[in-house]
Amino acid sequence: MIRFTKDHEWVSLDGTTATVGITTHAQDALGDLVFVELPEPGREVTEAEGIAVVESVKAASDVYAPLTGRITEINAAIVEDPALVNRDPAGAGWFFKMELPDPAAFNTLLDQAGYDALLAELA
């Protein structure tokens, strides 16, 4: 199951491990990405904390921790090739995985219908 934040991140949950990326809408709005900075594995992060940075040709944006937890793995492929996020934001362009102490918090995030409604408001 996939859920979303209002800041345009997607989160998928497998047991207590969440995988996080940015949405198709987000990568489209940012345009061609040229730089990605990811958090150190092992770092404890708090919900809504800015922990990654993406930059397009023109602008820099923060990526926030969608939930509280510990970073367990990062996707080095998008650091090497930031355009991978543009090409496959929901798949190979994932950002990081995190271990959730409270997996139930996942259910507080937006579901697909909630995120679609948010996008409709922005359009």
């Binding site: 345009g31 023109k58 926030y64």
Partner: protein, 377 residues
């Protein structure tokens, strides 16, 4: 995610934005419209900034720069009068030629940078959108005896790239024969234009002033050429940054002089001798003794871009200066930036730190431009 709209393009007066004569065309092409200098303009089309940038470096790109100001100065005395406001040799501009110059204040600060083209006796000034009202006021106040005509009804198109001349030759062989910085009044596909062989990308190309009513027809004709694709403000900015060209409001402003901006070549030899331009005293002093700071190119050694307003530090941690433009150079293939640094730190190869998100990123002072100019000979 934050700041999904690039912050450089935000405008506080977004509630009364103007449209250019190409507005309908931009929307038809899927342009992502953003506020810029009081206008709604495309930051990019669906192709994206990277592809549009590369299109201009490899083939030809068409930009709408109708937001820029176009002002004609009439009368035989116009060039002499204009010389009281700029440090350049305006009297020396021959008919059919143009020069780059700067409006200066009494402290030597740059009020705007502009192109001055001579069409017969008339001088055509192309000024920055953000400064055009102030410039018109400046002209009216300082040289009221010269008739200044604003061309708010005209559009301005920029056709830029190594194949621009090939595309242009099919529509106007006469335009294709212009040399770099030459200008002419002629017709392209039956449309009367004022055209120059110049631009803001470092590539060969043309800037074309056209009556607003004819602008869309001309743009469509140019876009129909196989070499040409539309490009937006995003690519225009990355192209000019790679070319080491100043953006008014970022790299030059009232607080910078032409000497600090490394634009000494805009101060004509005759004017240095007569010392009769605004700010001549501080500027001649800076020419003789060196300015305290200098605009330089900066190349971050890592992959993180350093944006405008990034603080520059010397190796000993002391303040060295500030980045005024920065981003990623698609053709350079690396982050690139320009900024002002202390003169003792302005030599090519000088190691400096850029303070980005609390980290000191190593960078080096680099010769400008980042990508060699390829103007027509």
């Amino acid at each position: 995610m934050s700041e999904l709209i690039p912050s450089d393009f935000e405008d506080p007066d977004a509630d009364r934005l103007r449209q250019t004569p190409l507005d309908a065309l931009h929307r038809r092409l899927g342009g992502r419209m953003v506020p810029f200098a009081g206008y709604e303009l495309p930051v990019q089309y669906p192709t994206g900034v990277m592809a549009e940038h590369t299109q201009c470096r490899e083939r030809a790109a068409l930009f709408d720069v109708s937001h820029m100001g176009q002002i004609s100065l009439h009368g035989a005395d116009a060039a002499a009068a204009l010389e009281t406001l700029v440090p350049g040799d305006m009297l020396g501009i021959k008919p059919g030629r143009q020069r780059y110059t700067v409006f200066l204040d009494e402290a030597g600060g740059i009020l705007d940078d502009l192109m001055v083209a001579r069409h017969g006796e008339r001088l055509l000034l192309i000024v920055n959108a953000s400064r055009k009202d102030a410039d018109a006021q400046h002209l009216a106040t300082r040289i009221p005896q010269i008739a200044a005509e604003r061309h708010e009804d005209r559009a301005l198109l920029a056709l830029q790239g190594p194949a621009a001349v090939t595309a242009m030759a099919r529509l106007s062989p006469q335009a294709a024969m212009l040399g770099f910085m030459q200008v002419a009044e002629l017709t392209i596909a039956g449309i009367p234009v004022w055209i120059s062989r110049s631009g803001y990308t470092g590539e060969d190309g043309f800037e074309i002033s056209v009556p607003g009513a004819d602008a869309e027809a001309l743009a469509e004709k140019l876009l129909a050429e196989p070499e040409v694709m539309a490009a937006g403000l995003g690519a225009r900015d990355s192209l000019r940054l790679e070319a080491g060209l100043c953006l008014y409001g970022n790299d030059i402003d009232e607080l910078t002089t032409p000497v600090e901006a490394n634009l000494n070549w805009t101060i004509a030899k005759r004017r240095r001798e007569s010392k009769d331009f605004p700010g001549a005293v501080p500027i001649m002093d800076q020419l003789a003794n060196g300015p305290t700071r200098l605009r330089v190119g900066l190349r971050p050694e890592g992959r993180a871009p350093a944006r405008a307003e990034t603080v520059i530090a010397a190796a000993d941690g002391t303040a060295a200066g500030t980045v005024t433009s920065g981003g990623f150079g698609p053709t350079a293939g690396t982050p690139i930036a320009m900024g002002y640094v202390r003169r003792d730190l302005a030599n090519e190869g000088q190691a400096l730190d850029l303070l980005v998100r609390g980290k000191a990123l190593p960078a080096r002072v680099t010769a400008l431009p980042f990508v060699p100019h390829r103007y027509a000979r």
